[in-house]
Symmetry: C2
């Protein structure tokens, strides 16, 4: 079976880890291997140049998580991380000190930057870095072109004649914890970007496409906004299944609610489903897995033609996450 996952960072990485666990446990020979081929298309819209090095938060989180090196408490960054470089860097007083630049993480940024400066594409670089991490999936950036999400925020205190300003998504997200009202997201470079080699094929030549409970606006949303992706999904013979990132009317992780608010989308499992849209009605998804806390929306969505089910969707550990992945695949008859 070929499985394609469209992933952001922490949520997508944890989901994929559970998916891989599921595939391994279902393997008849119990060898721990898997007969499924999993391709993870990673959002690169949060990438940025920081102190001259290329930081790809979602790719890094996926590599570290699937490679067994992620910081277990944070869900991003490296285990046993230190900040010797960034502490010294702060003495130069150049700003960006709100962004955690761990020493071990920095090694990845330096390796990536070296290869990019040597002329390799981000796809090629990611392949090269994955030789170390052995993530057990084919990890592909959504595009080899640089796409950087900026946020038009407003200080909203009523005193400034021009209170709007643009900042990098990471600044809004990490520094301000998404607390500044966001008027809209501006994805610099998106219009001219094309999917990386293999991305469109991963959407059309596959047996199922999974949308993990990643941020529907700036993670999965950015991948979907890439020219060519929506059309490929619309024409794909594979069913497309999403797992709701909203549980009981709140974002499980991160601050997806602030992103949804910017788009005028209610923070609810049903509203996010309708935001993605039902494929038979011109949208993207065939099926939608919600949490038992949101079982109230199941009948309504089913009545509109959705394949929908309510199960526990909190990714509390790998076993629970494997079960969520199993339920998502079962919704469209793709049990491993």
């Amino acid at each position: 079976m070929r499985i394609t996952v469209l992933s952001g960072g922490v949520g997508g990485a944890r989901f994929t880890l559970g998916l891989l666990a599921l595939l391994r446990e279902r393997l008849p020979d119990g060898s721990g291997g898997t007969t499924a081929e999993v391709t993870v298309v990673a959002n690169t819209g949060d990438d940025m140049w920081l102190h001259g090095v290329r930081v790809c938060p979602d790719l890094d989180t996926l590599m570290y998580t699937l490679g067994g090196a992620v910081h277990p408490g944070q869900g991003w960054g490296r285990r046993e991380e230190t900040r010797r470089v960034s502490t010294d860097l702060a003495a130069y007083d150049l700003g960006w000190d709100w962004f955690t630049l761990g020493d071990l993480d920095l090694a990845t940024h330096l390796a990536r930057t070296q290869l990019l400066r040597e002329g390799f594409t981000l796809s090629q670089v990611t392949d090269r870095l994955c030789r170390r991490w052995q993530p057990g999936v084919r990890l592909v950036p959504m595009s080899d072109h640089e796409v950087e999400t900026h946020v038009l925020v407003t200080d909203d205190d009523g005193t400034s004649p021009r209170p709007e300003r643009l900042m990098h998504f990471e600044e809004w997200w990490v520094r301000y914890r998404a607390s500044l009202p966001a008027l809209r997201f501006v994805q610099v470079g998106l219009e001219g970007a094309v999917p990386a080699p293999g991305v469109l094929a991963a959407l059309t030549e596959t047996d199922v496409v999974l949308l993990p409970p990643s941020n529907p606006v700036v993670s999965v949303g950015t991948i979907l906004a890439l020219p060519g992706v929506r059309a490929a999904l619309a024409g794909s013979p594979a069913p497309v299944v999403g797992v709701s990132p909203i549980v009981g009317g709140a974002a499980v992780r991160g601050m997806a609610d602030a992103c949804l608010r910017t788009l005028g989308v209610e923070t609810s499992a049903a509203a996010v489903a309708r935001h993605y849209g039902l494929r038979s009605a011109g949208g993207l998804l065939d099926a939608w897995l919600v949490d038992t806390a949101d079982s109230g929306c199941v009948l309504g969505l089913a009545g509109q033609g959705w394949l929908v089910s309510a199960v526990p969707t909190l990714m509390t550990d790998v076993a629970a996450t494997a079960e969520i992945a199993a339920q998502a695949l079962a919704l469209v008859g793709r049990e491993p």
Copy 2:
């Protein structure tokens, strides 16, 4: 008094530290300040892009040494340095692991790279970094253009049809300890480079130009090879004094002998003097300070018109170095 120093890394930095000590101790009010203005023009020919960040070995050595942060044993790099990033980076197996990339040093490279990528010139960046280090001199890179020294080496084992190959100077110098026979040095970018703002003025609108005991081929030699520098020195009203980097027929530090050999210059104090040339005969120097071990060449050089003197020139500590600087200035009547 205005003093200009043309400097490489370790030797030039130590010499300048002694010079500053001299200027402070000679100040009448004993305030520890100085009435002299010292400009250090630093060689940037050993600079390189490493893992996507800009490394400027000589500028860094000067900043750390004059800023009191240099590793005392090495004479380059930072005190209490660690290698957490580079140890992890080695797991990506991208090469360059022979180059020491310390964590604290890396903070400097990242700060520099950020500012360069923001569009600042290397001069502007150096000014900005010096706000932290307060070197007590005006530190100027020789050029804002990238100049990178490469070395045409030969494996010289007689078996290969094309045994010559080019490598970055730092690879030849650090990795191979200058042990591979160098056929010649190729300074990429030198022809199109121009002196940084203030460099030519520092050569002509000054009271004395000092050449510390830096490498005459690839440190001072690179600065001198920069278009416009020789002409400025030739026309400068200021006397030009050099301190021999060769003592008793050997390079005191580093592997200057390997560089001199490539140019067909004997490793002796007199030969290096003649390599620089006497200004009144179309060369660069007015005066040459040699070690007492080389006093045998004093009469011969003096007979050819050189201002020359033999004194202890080993920079064993700051006090001894201050005395060397005093002797160099005294040779041309520029006592502070």
